[in-house]
Every structure is written in C-alpha cells, then in structure tokens.
C-alpha cells in the first residue's frame, strides 16, 4: 500500500539524516578533543619552561641575597675578631650579635652559623646544644660529610653548597642551599642556608596557575564545541522538520488524491446506477405496467409479448447489476488489496447467509496484480460453492504468509462435495481455481468429506 511505503521511505530518510548529522558532529568532536589535548600539552610544556625560568631567577635572587647577608655577617664577625683577640676566638658580644641576626621572610630558618676550620661549631642559634661540639665527622641523610664539605667550599672560595639539612622549624630533612665564607680575621667559617622549599612553592604556584589556564581554555573550547554541535544539530533538525513538512504535504496531497479518486469513483457508480440500473428498472416497470394496461384495455393479444420483453429487461438489469458489483469489487481489490476485500466479503457472506464466518488475515506482502486477482477469484469460487452447496454452519477463512509463501485457506463444516466433484459441473469451478493457482507455480488442494471441506491455495514467495 502506498501510504505505508511512503512512511517507510520517510523513516529511512530520517535515519539517513541522523547519520549525516552524526557524521558531521563526529569530526567536530574529534577535532575538539585533539585541540584540547594539544593545548594542554602546549601549556604544560610552557609551564615547565616557566618553572625553570622563574626558579632560576628566584634562585639567582636568593643567591644574591644569601651572598649579601653572609658578606654583611662576615664583616660584622671580622669586626668582633679584632687584633688582640685570639684569632680563632670570636668575642662573646660578636657571637651573640650574630645569633640574633635573623633575616629574610622566613625568619625562623634564616640564620648564621659559625664553625672553626676544623669542624667545631661555634654558634648555632637554633641548635645551641651543638655549640662547642666537633661535627667534622657529621654526615647528612645522604651520607655526606657536610661540615667538611662546607669548610672545603669556604676555604676554596666556591661559596655555594647544595646539601640536605634537618630543618629546625619543620623537623624534616630538606634540601638546602648554603653560602659559606672563610673569615681570615677570625679563622672561622660563617655561613647560612636557604631551604629550597619555596622553589617547590614557585613550581606549585605556577602549576596551579597553568592548571587553571588549561581548565579555563578547555572549558571555553568545550563551550565553543557544544555551541557548534548545537548549531549543527539545529541545522539538521530544521532540515529534518522542513523535509518532514514537505513529506507530510506530499502525503496529504496523496491522501487528497485518493479521496478525490474515490469520490470520482462513487460519482461514477451513482451515475451508472441512475443511468443504467434505474433507467432499466423503470423501463421494466413500464413494460409490466404496459402488460397490465393491455390486459385491462382489451389488448390481451399483445400482453404475452410485452411480458416476455419485461422478463428480458429484468434479465438485462440482473446482468448489469452483476457487472457493476464485479466492477466495484475489482475497484475495492485495487484500492484496498486482498486482505480488506476478503475480510469485507467474508463478513458480508456471514451476514447474507447467517453462517458463522471467521476471517483471519495475517501479514500480506504487496502482491502482483494477477496473483492478487487469482487468489481473490479462488476465494470467491470457494465461498460461492459453500453458499450454493455446502449447507455449512461455520466457515473459517485465513490468509497467512510464511517463509515459503502465501497460504489462503477456506474451511467449512458443510455436507462436503459429492465424490468425483472434479468431474461434473460443480467441478468446473474447482478446475478453474486450480488453474488460477498453478499458473503461479502454486499448489491447490481440495479436500472434502462430510463435515469438513478444505480448500488450500498456496503461492510461492517468488510470485508475491
């Protein structure tokens, strides 16, 4: 049927359109993911460089700071190792002054320490308990003799030293950058250290900043992508709606055409009824009335002929009605197809004859015109036989389709056909049915016994 075909076609078109939208969106999604990934990579790379750059600048600044502080400290210390004092002995006053010279932001951990050149701690503001102790053999967590290393650096004038130290404020072993200077006036080494944790802070800070940048950038890209997707989808949807509207219009037009053609058909049938049947019936009526008037008016000699003509006219009317009904049936078969026609006629058959009729119509594929009409004729012949001869009280009609093909079955509980039904006059109909079915390489089976007559017509799939 055309309507369902159109619906199916439309469905397929919509699926295709969805696919197109998907295909349009997919590259966009891939591109977005790729861009996000690339941007992140780029920013991460930049971040690393930035960390290195900033750290080196900060380190340089700190180094300068350390240097200046230690230089200041050494000047102060030299002052308190004035000639007269023992060269290795820093005055108590000088020692206490240095002890209190905290500097920098992290006051807690920025302090001077003083050692003799053979490793005895002279002053340590945070660890006064080690003062006076020889730490020559002292090893750091990594197993290095740090005091020896510090003294080596002080002696050689290579002031900066990387080492690890037990940080007083946190109690943790931490990386430390030391600056040491040998003060010849006192024959002592003065130094200070800088915990490198804030280098980590710099890194953390930059990383945090870049992470935020990455996140913001990603969010923006995703937002733009979503907006693009939305535009694509909206475009697709608009297209879809438009197409659907066009399809709907087409469908409406077709429905309109169907209605109009049905209307035209009905008008034609009405005209046929009036011009054909009514005129003929009126003429027939006139003819019989003529016969009556002839009998009444002493023209009886003509009445026999008139009556004969009336009967002929009635036969003509009957022929005409049959022909029209046949035309209407064909029209219905053309318009509605086999299923609805068989259903309708089965129902009418039941109403006309009082026989209990059950019609079961399964799925019927689109049929070739001649197959459809032959199946219909077989159905007509079978029901006509039942009506004329079977005296049945129940008729079961069914049409089913399976993998092999289409099955039309008509069963009744009538008295059954006389044996050898195929040979005499009733059999012509059967022969006819068989021929119609076998024309399409189908199979026709007629089985009859009292109480159970079955007509089965089968059309293989390739003829559907």
């Amino acid at each position: 049927m055309p309507n369902s075909q159109i619906a199916a076609k439309r469905k397929a078109q919509m699926r295709l359109r969805l696919l197109v939208i998907l295909l349009a969106s997919l590259p966009l999604l891939v591109a977005v993911v790729w861009v996000v990934w690339m941007v992140r990579d780029l920013i991460t790379e930049m971040q690393k460089n930035q960390v290195v750059a900033v750290q080196s600048i900060v380190l340089q600044a700190r180094k300068d700071e350390l240097k200046h502080f230690v230089q200041a400290g050494s000047k102060v210390m030299a002052h308190y190792c004035a000639p007269g004092n023992s060269p290795t002995k820093l005055s108590h006053e000088g020692k206490e002054l240095l002890r209190h010279m905290d500097f920098g932001d992290l006051t807690d951990d920025n302090y001077f320490f003083v050692y003799t050149m053979d490793g005895v701690n002279v002053m340590h503001p945070r660890l006064p308990e080690i003062e006076g102790k020889n730490l020559w053999e002292f090893k750091d967590a990594a197993g290095h003799f740090i005091i020896q290393t510090l003294l080596d650096h002080a002696r050689s004038g290579d002031h900066f030293v990387d080492y690890v130290w037990h940080r007083p404020s946190t109690g943790q072993i931490e990386d430390k950058l030391g600056y040491v200077e040998y003060v010849p006036e006192c024959n002592l080494m003065i130094g200070t250290g800088l915990y490198l944790d804030y280098m980590k802070e710099v890194k953390t800070f930059i990383e945090k900043q870049t992470d935020q940048t990455i996140q913001r950038t990603r969010d923006r890209i995703v937002l733009i992508a979503l907006a693009s997707l939305f535009v694509v989808a909206a475009g697709g949807l608009t297209l879809n709606i438009h197409e659907q509207r066009v399809a709907n219009q087409k469908l409406r037009r077709m429905a309109q055409q169907v209605v109009e053609s049905q209307e035209a058909e009905r008008t034609r049938v009405a005209r046929d009824l009036h011009d054909g049947v009514s005129q003929w019936l009126a003429a027939t009526k006139f003819t019989f009335e003529t016969a009556r008037l002839q009998l009444q008016r002493g023209q009886a000699d003509k009445s026999e002929q008139t009556l004969g003509s009336g009967v002929e006219k009635l036969q003509e009317v009957m022929r005409y009605v049959r022909e029209m009904s046949h035309k209407l049936r064909s029209a219905m078969l053309d318009d509605a197809g086999l299923g609805p026609t068989v259903e309708q006629e089965g129902r009418e058959f039941g109403e006309r004859t009082g026989v209990e009729v059950s019609v079961r119509i399964g799925h019927i594929p689109a049929l070739q015109k001649d197959v459809e009409s032959d199946l219909y004729r077989a159905f007509q012949e079978a029901t006509r036989n039942i009506e004329k001869h079977a005296n049945a009280s129940r008729v079961d009609i069914s049409i089913d389709t399976d993998k092999a093909g289409l099955w039309l079955r008509i069963a009744d509980n009538g008295k059954g056909a006389p044996s050898g039904a195929g040979k005499h006059k009733n059999g012509i109909g059967l022969l006819n049915m068989r021929e119609r079915i076998e024309r399409h390489e189908g199979e026709f089976e007629f089985h009859s016994e009292p109480g159970a007559t079955r007509v089965t017509a089968f059309i293989p799939h390739k003829y559907l």
């Binding site: 009126a282 003529t290 008016r297």
Partner: protein
C-alpha cells in the same frame, strides 16, 4: 380503468412528443402510452435542437420531457420550447424526485411533473389535466405544494 373511461373520446388522438436521452426509456414509454388509444406518439428524440424542430414540424399537443436531454437539460429544453410554442403543454416524466429539479422544471414553465416511480396511470392523468389547462404534480410529490 376509471381514468381511461373518464377521458372522452376526442375527434383525433392527442399528439405526444417524447424527449428523453435514454433509448430504453423512450421505447418503454412509447409502449406504455400506446396502450391508450387516445394517444398518438408522433415522435421522439434525445436531443435539444431536434426537440425544438420536431415541435415545430409535428405540432404535438403535449411534449413529455425527461430531466436529461442531450445538448441541454430538461428544464432548458422545456423553456425554449415554450418560448417558441407557448400553446404546447410540457409534462416532465422522470425518475428524479429531488426538489431542486422539480423547482427548476416548474420555473421553466412545465405544466406537470410526474415521477416514473408512480403508477403508469399518473402520466395519463397529467396529460388529461394539462390539456384542461391545469397544472399537475404526482400525488407522491404533494409535499412540494
């Protein structure tokens, strides 16, 4: 038959002309009218112009018109006939009982309107009445009046 007897024997037969598009209708109508010896069907046609010329040449007393006429309609044919031959009587004899058609026929100047569905004697009554100068509608159309 009361009607047939009531019609007094005229010196000459009443001349009738049949105008109907359907041959079968004309044939059966003629057969029916022939049973009445006072009637003489002088001609028949299915077409408008031929109807006008037949009225002019055959001088019918009554023209019996159906609703369908080739080349025109029953009412238009009736109107044209009456325009040219005002003394002719026009009787509609048709299957159409639609009030629209009846009104159209009467508006065209028809003197009678008889349904073919009614008993055959109705056409005889109608012819009789119109020749007496009356108008006539089949009793089954009384609701129209």
């Amino acid at each position: 038959m009361a009607i047939a007897e009531s019609i007094s024997k005229p010196p000459s037969a009443i001349r009738l002309l049949l105008v109907d598009v359907h041959a079968i209708s004309r044939e059966s109508s003629r057969l029916l009218l022939d049973t009445n010896t006072q009637f003489e069907v002088v001609g028949e046609t299915d077409e408008h112009h031929e109807a006008l010329s037949l009225v002019a040449t055959l001088h019918p007393d009554v023209v019996i018109v159906s609703m369908r006429v080739k080349g025109s309609t029953g009412p238009d044919t009736a109107r044209d006939i009456l325009k040219l031959h005002p003394t002719v009587q026009v009787v509609f004899w048709t299957l159409f009982d639609d009030p629209e058609y009846i009104r159209a026929a009467l508006a065209a100047g028809a003197h009678a309107y008889v349904l073919k569905q009614d008993p055959a004697e109705e056409i005889e009554i109608a012819i009789d009445r119109v020749l007496q100068g009356q108008t006539y509608l089949s009793p089954s159309l009384n609701y129209m009046q």
